[in-house]
């Protein structure tokens, strides 16, 4: 298994750079991964990442449409915060696995 070091902490990641052990994640680590994606994180970024982490750790499937039910932001804002492929970027920075569709 691959490893990477962020903010002085070594973490386990897969070949695409997604965390395989979400408990190794910290906010300091998130700031560094975000730099790789050319993003500067704000409170809104952290709020939606917390929603995604809670959902994932609760065993629920993640989807873009669920963002509208987050009570934090809507999908449009999600795209503004994580341009391009927001769910993929947000989960990577939030230290959780890349979402697989539920098929």
């Amino acid at each position: 298994m691959a490893q990477k070091t962020y903010a002085g902490i070594t973490v386990d990641v897969n070949e695409e750079g997604y965390f395989t052990n979400p408990s190794q994640w910290t906010k300091e680590i998130a700031l560094e991964i975000a730099k790789e994606e050319n993003l500067v994180l704000t409170g809104q970024h952290f709020a939606i990442m917390e929603f995604l982490r809670n959902k994932f750790l609760g065993g629920e499937a993640l989807s873009i449409r669920s963002i509208n039910h987050s009570g934090v932001i809507d999908v449009k804002t999600f795209y503004q915060l994580f341009p391009g492929a927001p769910l993929k970027k947000a989960t990577k920075i939030a230290g959780i696995p890349k979402p697989v569709s539920c098929i």
């Binding site: 629920e60 499937a61 989807s63 873009i64 449409r65 669920s66 039910h69 999908v75 449009k76 999600f78 795209y79 341009p83 391009g84 492929a85 993929k88 697989v100 569709s101 539920c102 098929i103």
Partner: protein, 425 residues
């Protein structure tokens, strides 16, 4: 004497336990057949509540726009498939009161239960996407997940002169995840047959990163799209439909013009689920993906599209789940642990046009792999590979559905996914 009989009868009725099934589609009908066989008729009553009196063979919707089937070819009365000894109530459900072990019908009638099976399915919700159900709905925007949509589209295609045909999946989960791809393949076949393929530009637009979710199948299906000159646009999440300029727009700023839009809208669970506080944010019942028992109430079980399981929303899944669920309900009645565990097993034929098809077989842990199904060496069906026999299998499946599957008769396939016949590399 008569008085005594009445008292005895009442006592007997009071002693009877009640199994209530909500929904008489694929999953509910199979469960009514299975449970009636399993439960002693002098101890358990079985009741099924369903608002529709017609049962549609839903895989047939895909073929209607291409004039392969008409409505009459894919519909039969629901009543025909419930076994003797099952009471059928033709009504809409207003609410489930799980704390009181009862449901209320739309006319206010209350029905109690000892065990509840929820099989209320899923439905499309085009109204959730801005502009999707706007001025162009059923004029140049169609769905093929309802009989009305499929029939309107058949009429439209008959006289269509061609242009940009855009097929868009708004977001997962959807019923029969391969159906939109099959639609693209069949459209290529249909317009080729009409001698106007050069006038139809087909584009498949998906929120996924490729043609399909799982890597091997995605690669195989993606190359099939390319080979058939069907454009693939991935990572597109529909934000709104511009009815004035006939365009779909994603949240990231991408725009795709269409002359005909085939939409697979967002799916939600039956509204009674949300209203009764049993569902997730999309109205799918929160249930254990292995035991199929409700997370919130031990005497409520869920099967098929109604659940929030991370499995396909497909008839084959309901069929495989039914074996597991029947055993677990019997264990529940006998106060034993629920030892049967659904593995996410799903399989589906994928029509690829020109008289060919693909078959895929997979579960929660194993992606679709190449090989043979259901038996090694002899198959006869080829996995993840085009063949004429797979297409014939799909056509034959309609007969199997009505005569074997719905009636819970034995099929020569296992409920759990088997690695027999599959090739890892």
């Amino acid at each position: 004497m008569e008085y005594i009989c009445t008292v005895n009868k009442l006592t007997e009725e009071e002693k009877m336990k009640k199994l209530l099934i909500l929904g008489g589609g694929t999953a509910g009908t199979i469960m009514s057949n299975k449970m009636r066989k399993e439960l002693p008729a002098n101890e358990w009553s079985v009741t099924i509540v369903e608002k529709e009196i017609n049962h549609y063979y839903q895989p047939g919707f895909l073929f209607i726009p291409f004039e392969y089937y008409k409505k009459k070819d894919i519909v039969k009365p629901s009543l025909k498939f419930f076994p003797k000894g099952v009471e059928f109530i033709n009504s809409e459900i207003d609410k489930i009161d799980a704390a009181k072990n009862s449901i209320t019908l739309i006319n206010g009638t209350e029905i109690n239960y000892d065990i509840l099976i929820i099989a209320t399915g899923t439905r499309i919700s085009p109204e959730e996407t801005p502009g999707l159900k706007g001025d162009l709905w059923q004029k140049s925007i169609f769905d093929f997940y309802t009989i009305e949509g499929a029939e309107s589209l058949a009429e439209f295609f008959k006289t269509w002169k061609g242009g940009n045909l855009v097929i868009n999946v708004v977001d997962n989960p959807i019923k029969c995840p391969v159906a939109p791809l099959e639609f693209a393949f069949l459209a290529d076949y249909y317009f080729t047959g009409k001698g106007m393929r050069d006038k139809v530009n087909i584009t498949y637009v998906t929120p996924l990163s490729g043609a399909f979710t799982k890597p091997k199948a995605s690669k195989m299906l993606g190359s099939l799209l390319g080979g058939k000159n069907i454009n693939l646009v991935s990572d597109f999440f529909l934000g709104e439909v511009d009815n004035v300029n006939s365009k779909i727009l994603d949240f990231g700023g991408k725009e795709i013009p269409f002359d005909c839009l085939i939409t697979v809208p967002l799916h939600t669970g039956d509204q009674v689920i949300s209203k009764s506080g049993l569902g997730d944010e999309f109205g799918f019942v929160k249930a254990d993906k292995n035991t199929l028992q409700s997370i919130l109430h031990k005497n409520i079980f869920v099967i098929g599209d109604a659940g929030n399981f991370p499995s396909s929303k497909a008839g084959s899944v309901a069929h495989f789940q039914a074996d597991v669920l029947t055993k677990n309900i019997i264990s529940f009645i006998e106060n034993k642990p629920l030892n049967e565990s659904f593995d996410g097993h799903s399989n589906c034929y994928i029509e690829t046009g020109f008289g060919k098809g693909i078959l895929i077989d997979f579960n929660y842990a194993t992606e679709p792999l190449p090989g043979l199904y259901p038996l090694p060496v002899v198959g006869p069906f080829k996995l993840l590979k085009e063949s004429r026999l797979n297409h014939l299998g799909k056509l034959l499946f309609k007969w199997i559905y009505w005569n074997i599957l719905l009636r819970a008769r034995k099929l020569p396939v296992t409920s759990y996914m088997s690695m027999t016949g599959k090739k890892q590399n």
